[in-house]
């Protein structure tokens, strides 16, 4: 890049702000806000360094939030269409006990239970079909196929079978996470190379010993890859299943009833909670992963 490029960019931004301000003063305000955030990031990016790298996404996020807040205010957007972030935050704080009880119902009882059962089933199935190449060749294409299907559609059926409470949500989650983890786990069990297996054989390790000491540890990076993908799927499954019927608590229940009452601040508060929970779950899995697969190249820094 030549030195003129950033200056051109600044000029273009200034022109944009000017045009927006001439069009409509409020739009000009928003454009100016955006330009300030963008220029700040441009400066940070040119300075470089670790702190700047961490600060840039923060500045971007704060800019977006500020745009949202101020945009909603200056254009007087009714809260039944888009509540301001401050209103969502206030609602989040005010209804925290209710949101937490929804989280408990949906995340812990529904999603986590189903996630653990589904993972256990998938790992057990992977180990079981590992000794039968015929079954592997038959199950893997079907597993890959099912992974692309809109599985969440079985929610109404499972709600019919298992009732409205968390059991049906857990069942939906089991089905949703089963195939991604199965496919990853089968690949993981095949990840050892012949030399390593020969080594185990020269130590006269039996099937189970070689499984426990070589192949399962070698499969862990694959298993964790599957686990990380399915954290989001588990939450989605549990929430969507609640749209088809649930007891009078749960995030999906709250979202659908609050939408019906046009209480959008509450909907956004629940979504905020779901986002926090999803990120926390993902972070937790990543933390365990770095403990378990500390030997893997991707974990060594």
């Amino acid at each position: 890049m030549t030195a003129a490029a950033p200056r051109l960019g600044v000029l273009a931004l200034a022109a944009l702000v000017l045009v927006a301000a001439l069009w409509d003063a409020r739009l000009g305000l928003l454009a100016a806000l955006w330009a300030v955030g963008w220029l700040a990031n441009g400066l940070l990016a040119r300075r470089g360094g670790r702190a700047a790298q961490a600060a840039i996404p923060m500045v971007f996020g704060v800019t977006l939030l500020a745009l949202w807040e101020i945009g909603v205010r200056v254009y007087a957007v009714p809260s039944v269409i888009l509540p301001a972030p401050s209103a969502i935050g206030a609602r989040f704080a005010a209804s925290l006990p209710m949101i937490l009880s929804d989280l408990w119902q949906t995340l812990v009882k529904g999603a986590l239970t189903g996630w653990l059962i589904g993972t256990a089933l998938a790992v057990a199935t992977a180990i079981a079909i590992d000794r039968v190449p015929f079954l592997q060749r038959g199950l893997l294409p079907i597993g890959n196929f099912v992974a692309a299907l809109p599985i969440v559609g079985i929610a109404p059926i499972l709600v019919m079978w298992f009732g409205f409470d968390w059991q049906s949500k857990a069942a939906v989650v089991v089905v949703m996470v089963f195939f991604p983890i199965l496919v990853n786990m089968v690949a993981g069990l095949a990840a050892t190379d012949a030399m390593q297996r020969d080594q185990m054989a020269t130590w006269s390790a039996g099937y189970w010993e070689s499984l426990a000491k070589l192949r399962l540890p070698a499969a862990m990076p694959f298993l964790f890859n599957g686990l990380k993908i399915t954290t989001t799927l588990a939450l989605i499954g549990a929430i969507v299943a609640e749209f088809f019927g649930s007891p009078t608590r749960g995030m999906g229940f709250r979202i659908s009833t609050a939408v019906g009452q046009m209480d959008l601040a509450l909907v956004w508060a629940e979504i905020l909670m779901a986002a926090l929970a999803g990120s926390a779950l993902y972070g937790a899995v990543s933390a365990v992963e770095s403990r378990v697969t500390f030997w893997h190249p991707s974990q060594r820094t």
Partner: protein, 317 residues
């Protein structure tokens, strides 16, 4: 991309789903997996029949007990196959329901699965086109601008851990309240869901050429636009197709969930919902299979375009 633990921790959905699909459906690798697949399918169908008998039997026995009759085991089995609202419809009932929905109705009928499928398909395709073009454009921006890269990518990656689908009903209802109904709200959800896999995959793909190739382009005095056109875009195509397959599956799921909010009467999602309200299990299963067939067809179509394109470019493996 392969199913691998070596992938960086981010980019969850895109990675495996992409990895899964890039290997093809399995039967691409000649006929050696046809027999195993058929065997497993046969086992699944058999298990399904057994489950249908087992789950539907209690209703048959209740009916018989209420009528004061005794039924033999054979009668019970026969009765479980032909119920109108079985707990679990037998495979042939679902097949009949599917056939009736596809071929037995006029295409314009409200009971026709072709009609509902078309509603869903059109929203899916509109959203997919919107979301993946936005993803490609933004990816091009990101590989050329360090500021965009550092600002947007962390959020794009983090957004993959957020259950975005949960917002779908709200988007539908809110847009309906400002007078936007029909195809557009669903397409927006589908676009949103297909946007991120394409963005993340294309950023990877556009950065895929190795430094030697970039140096070569520079030694030919190629500008940014020329590097994009002659080097980055062509070498990103395998990544593009892999993420398009993920994106279209996600777009379909998004559309179907977008059809769930009460009041929707059109589309496969609405079919699922009304089936669950009225206990019409055969209708639910038929809609579900229609959705599955649609998903499979869409992914297959992209796979076919991928094979032709990559073969013509000499990139096929």
């Amino acid at each position: 991309m392969r199913v691998t633990g070596m992938s960086e921790p981010a980019v969850p959905t895109a990675l495996v789903a992409a990895s899964v699909t890039r290997r093809g459906w399995g039967w691409g690798k000649a006929g050696q997996s046809v027999l195993p697949v058929l065997t497993v399918l046969a086992a699944i169908v058999a298990a399904w029949y057994l489950a249908a008998v087992w789950m539907n039997a209690s209703w048959v026995r209740d009916q018989a007990a209420r009528a004061g009759e005794t039924v033999t085991a054979a009668q019970v089995v026969r009765a479980t196959m032909v119920q109108e609202r079985p707990v679990l419809p037998a495979p042939h009932q679902v097949a009949a329901g599917l056939w009736d929905g596809v071929a037995g109705q006029k295409i314009t009928s409200k009971r026709s699965l072709v009609w509902h499928g078309w509603i869903t398909l059109s929203a899916t395709l509109a959203g997919f086109a919107l979301g993946s073009s936005a993803g490609i454009l933004l990816a091009v921006g990101i590989v050329h601008s360090r500021v965009m890269d550092l600002s947007i990518m962390p959020w794009a990656v983090a957004s993959q851990t957020v259950p975005i689908l949960a917002i779908a009903p709200m988007v539908i209802v809110v847009l309906a309240s400002v007078g936007v109904t029909g195809l557009l709200p669903k397409a927006l959800i589908a676009a949103w869901l297909s946007f991120f896999p394409v963005l993340v995959g294309m950023v990877k793909g556009l950065r895929a050429p190795d430094p030697m190739q970039f140096d070569l382009m520079r030694s030919w005095n190629a500008g940014g636009g020329q590097v994009l056109r002659y080097l980055r875009l062509p070498s990103s195509l395998p990544w593009l197709f892999a993420s398009l397959k993920v994106a279209i599956a996600a777009a379909l799921v998004g559309t179907i969930v977008g059809e769930l909010p009460a009041g929707a009467t059109q589309g496969l999602g609405a079919r699922l919902l009304s089936g669950s309200y009225y206990g019409q299990t055969i209708q639910i299963w038929s809609a579900l299979f229609a959705a599955a067939i649609l998903a499979a067809a869409l992914v297959w179509l992209i796979g076919a375009i991928e094979r032709v394109t990559l073969r013509r470019m000499g990139l096929a493996r």
